[in-house]
């Protein structure tokens, strides 16, 4: 599908605004909203995964029973994950000062 953007003309935008490549918000970066950044301390992590379901931005991927590095393209830095972590394996630092 042709990439639609604010320069697209009336023939290029999709009829009715319907989107055919669902889930394409993944291409939109909300990581730059972040003022504070979560830092994953893998050495401290006990892989309890309690951080994963609380993320509003689906930014804590889990694979093979292990949480992986944050998806910083989408994480908005809300810190809910850091708050629920029982072992302080997530540290919040001001963006740009990690």
């Amino acid at each position: 599908m042709v990439k639609i953007n604010e320069k697209s003309n009336w023939k290029e935008v999709t009829p009715g605004g319907t989107i055919y490549n669902t889930g394409n918000a993944a291409e939109f970066n909300t990581g730059d909203w972040r003022v504070n950044k979560p830092i994953f301390k893998e050495d401290k992590c006990i892989q309890c995964l309690l951080c994963a379901p609380v993320c509003p931005d689906s930014s804590i991927p889990v694979k093979d029973g292990q949480r992986l590095e944050f998806d910083y393209d989408h994480c908005k830095g809300c810190a809910i994950c850091a708050e629920v972590c029982p072992v302080d394996a997530i540290e919040m630092v001001p963006e740009g000062q990690e």
Partner: protein
Amino acid sequence: MTEKYNFKQEMEKEERLTGGHRMCAGCGAPVAVRAVLRALEEDDEAVIGCATGCLEVSTFMYPYTAWKDSFIHNAFENAGATTSGAEAAYQSLKKQGKLANDKDHKFIAFGGDGGTYDIGFQSLSGAMERGHDMTYVCYDNGAYMNTGIQRSSATPRFADTTTTPVGTEKKGKSQYRKDLTAIMADHNLPYVAQTTFIGNFKDLHQKAKKAIYTEGATFLNVMAPCPRGWRYPPEKMMELCKLAVETCYWPMFEIENGEWKLNYKPKEKMPIEKFLEAQGRFKHITKSEKKDMIEEMQAEVDHRWEKLLIRCGEKEK
């Protein structure tokens, strides 16, 4: 049909709501959506309806959608009717053999408390009463957050909202909240439940699973905190949910084929003040000298809790 909850396995499921949506940092609504959609079997397709509200405008801003499943937003007050129409189409096309039948389609509607308790109530009631094979999920954040924190019928009494502002004559909202979950139970639906985010989301997961995989119209009421509207630091989301449950402000229960069941009973009921003082919208009552408003609210919470205990057979009438 309660299956064992394999938390780790559930967390590995592919996300059906992607990042890149424009909800506020720390918003509860996408957390609710992710949890509900995880209850879908991986092979099942879903058609998701959504009422206008924060969730809709922020997850589907042209040309981006965060939803991987088929999704339809129609208007504010008609997620119930719209989703019921899609479900009717499915029944018709399936019956006529016009669809490839190798995959099951599940129908899920999402609405905030504005789109569910208030403006969309008629449409919800109609769709549920007709018994479409669909699940309606309310993410209840207790006010019209999308338009700037106006009161809804789900807003707790005394809350300071932009249409029930605290002033010299008024102390926030005058009314207690509507008990929508009980009203939906009185529709005699096969499954109705109330829940929120607790621990590893077992309760929410199991309820979503039951709701989606029970044939007929089912209803789920999920409390989803709003840091902006409730005025608490965004990182405290899980704490707010816990306070709501431990104070019995937001009990967790379900009604399966008319049987009421309490899913969690605090060992010791926490005073409602604990829930109120965690939120800026109640600052005018928690920080004032007069405690009578808090006492009033406590009495109402107690009254509703007692009623629920009786309904759930936890207590003699």
